[in-house]
């Protein structure tokens, strides 16, 4: 019988997790979706440790993507969407980096990227879909032939195929599988046995985690084995798929973590204003990332008043009546 100390060798600080598992040049999949459940605590730590040349593989990423790009950690992205909902319909540092030619990029759609993770998780080299037929997503390559020689990069963006089983008119697109070096995700709960529980929408977190070589999970709470195993239907990942567990309350701030806290509208608005100007942006990074060496200090800086405002109603999952303008 396993004891509740099962994750002792996986439990670590964000500093240790990044140092151990996330190298320069790594291909990284970020969990969450635009302004929900971004693994921000780990993202701040990646920036503090000045990781460089990351290759991000994303469906719809928002705050985490924009910060990593803005802080200069990213060399290339394969992406469906860079936006922060109505707080920034297009992520601002993402937009600037592409317009200024600072990062390499290749576009896919959300479903296509999710399927690519699924293919990686299943161990198949490619996967078909009908989504994207007739579009520029199919026709226009983002990466150059030279860039395609890099590790974990497909030699082609995608190809079309006639259905080999029936029908001459029946076409599909084949998409290359993804197996990122690291998947980062923020969950509500991890059990003392290492089981991961995600409340609310899972986005493509489970596929990303199963596709990745290494999985870092940050969580709001670590709960007893007996509790997490009492309701296994709620659980997302078994312990043996997880490499590092970091306990990090409010670890998704300023993005939401359903049933624990809402997104922080005032912070996301402040971020948008800062992201527009290089000088303000440097100041933001200094003040909110480099200037707060630990997550505890970050939360002190956010302040208990703000944390109280965004606290979710445990039945609804969000903070009703929150001023979101």
């Amino acid at each position: 019988m396993t004891s509740h100390t099962d994750i002792e060798n996986k439990l670590m600080t964000p500093k240790e997790a990044v140092r151990k598992f996330l190298k320069d040049g790594a291909q990284v999949a970020i969990g969450g979706f635009t302004i929900n459940r971004n693994p921000m605590g780990i993202v701040y730590e990646i920036i503090r440790q000045r990781r460089r040349n990351l290759h991000l593989v994303c469906h719809s990423n928002g705050q985490a993507l924009d910060l990593l790009i803005g802080a200069g950690c990213v060399m290339k992205v394969e992406i469906a969407y860079g936006g922060n909902g109505r707080f920034a319909p297009t992520c601002i540092r993402f937009r600037k980096a592409i317009e200024n030619g600072e990062i390499a990029f290749e576009d896919y759609s959300n479903y296509q990227m999710s399927l690519r993770f699924l293919a990686g998780a299943l161990g198949i080299p490619f996967i078909p879909t009908k989504s994207g037929l007739g579009t520029s997503l199919l026709r226009l390559q983002g990466f150059s032939r030279e860039q395609r020689k890099a590790r974990k990069t497909a030699r082609k963006k995608c190809v079309t195929l006639q259905n080999p089983f029936n029908g001459k008119q029946d076409k599909v697109i084949l998409l290359p599988a993804l197996n990122p070096d690291v998947a980062l995700l923020h969950a509500q709960y991890v059990g003392e046995d290492g089981t991961v529980r995600i409340k609310g929408l899972t986005f493509a977190d489970i596929e990303q985690a199963k596709a990745a070589d290494c999985v870092i999970v940050t969580c709001e709470e670590i709960i007893p084995r007996s509790v997490i195993r009492a309701d296994p239907d709620q659980n997302a990942l078994p312990p043996f798929l997880v490499d590092a567990v970091v306990r990090m309350p409010y670890g998704a701030h300023p993005t939401a973590c359903g049933y624990f806290y809402d997104y922080d509208p005032s912070h996301l608005n402040m971020y948008r204003r800062a992201a527009k100007e290089d000088v303000l942006y440097k100041k933001y990074l200094k003040e909110w990332v480099h200037g707060v060496p630990s997550h505890e200090e970050y939360l002190d800086k956010v302040g208990t008043e703000t944390l109280a405002k965004i606290k979710a109603d445990p039945a609804l999952g969000y903070a009703p009546g929150l001023d979101r303008r």
């Binding site: 719809s60 936006g83 319909p89 317009e99 959300n110 007739g134 579009t135 029946d170 493509a204």
Partner: protein
């Protein structure tokens, strides 16, 4: 009182509703009771919610992030907003959500917005200028290409401007009728295609055979010349009629029940 809308000005004493309100209500009228609605967060959220509360109570709103039929007591600010996973029938993830969009048994309607549109309803939400060195970069497809490829029908929201209604989109993010006629089917997309474009000036539909966009409705107070001036390609206006203005009930529901904070109505 004359009710009409002119260039978004509400201070002329004759205007009882805004362009955005008219857009939400016009689009909502395309929804049939029982449709399964793939919504975004802007005006589409309003259109779906108004329709649901007025004439399509059996319709279901769902989101690409995986939230199916949320109670939507508060408007979401993003498709990942925790409000899209509250009071739902099922919470899942992206792959499950896209299996609903393209489900063969369902009549699914997707609402999309874009930076550019051409006369066949192909839309661009990726970039202006060269893809590799764009003048302006936008968010990208997200789930738009998927919905446009797989849903039974698409309703597109646009600001009616010449630079947005273009002969050729700079980047074809989401497929409309492609090159018209049966080109969509030939490309391998057996169903779907845009059914309406709803702008701040009027409503466009697509010709049944040629699949070319034509003007179906202009809002009260808007002239055909105004629409012609703001459209970058030749558009048939011979079938256009004046839109039925929003009813008091439609406006009341929109303002008091759907978006009381005016988060989207502005």
């Amino acid at each position: 009182m004359h009710r009409g809308w002119t260039e978004g000005k509400e201070d002329q004493g004759m205007v009882a509703y805004t362009a955005r309100e008219m857009m939400a209500i016009s689009a909502g009228r395309f929804i049939k009771d029982g449709d399964i609605l793939f919504a975004g967060t802007g005006v589409s959220m309003l259109a779906a919610t108004v329709a649901k509360r007025i004439h399509a109570p059996k319709s279901v709103v769902f989101f690409e992030t995986g939230g199916i039929d949320p109670s939507l007591d508060e408007l979401p600010m993003a498709v990942s907003d925790p409000r899209v996973m509250s009071g739902t029938s099922v919470n899942s993830g992206l792959i499950d959500a896209f299996s609903i969009v393209g489900h063969r048994k369902l009549h699914t309607i997707a609402f999309l917005g874009a930076a550019q549109i051409d006369r066949f309803g192909n839309i661009n939400s990726t970039c202006i200028g060269d893809y590799h060195k764009p003048d302006v970069r936008f968010c990208g497809s997200g789930g738009a290409c998927d919905a446009a490829s797989l849903a039974s029908g698409v309703i597109i929201f646009m600001q009616h401007e010449k630079k947005k209604f273009v002969k050729k989109v700079d980047y074809l993010t989401s497929p409309g009728w492609l090159e018209g006629r049966n080109s969509r089917k030939k490309a391998g997309l057996p169903r779907g295609g845009p059914i309406a474009v709803v702008t701040n000036l009027g409503v466009m539909n697509f010709h049944e055979k040629t699949r070319e966009m034509y003007l179906a409705e202009y809002y009260p107070g808007v002239t055909l010349d105004q629409i012609r001036k703001h459209t970058g390609f030749e558009m048939d206006m011979s079938k256009a009629v004046e839109s039925v203005p929003p009813t008091d009930e439609e406006l009341r529901i929109l303002r008091e029940e759907v978006d009381p904070q005016r988060l989207i109505l502005g």
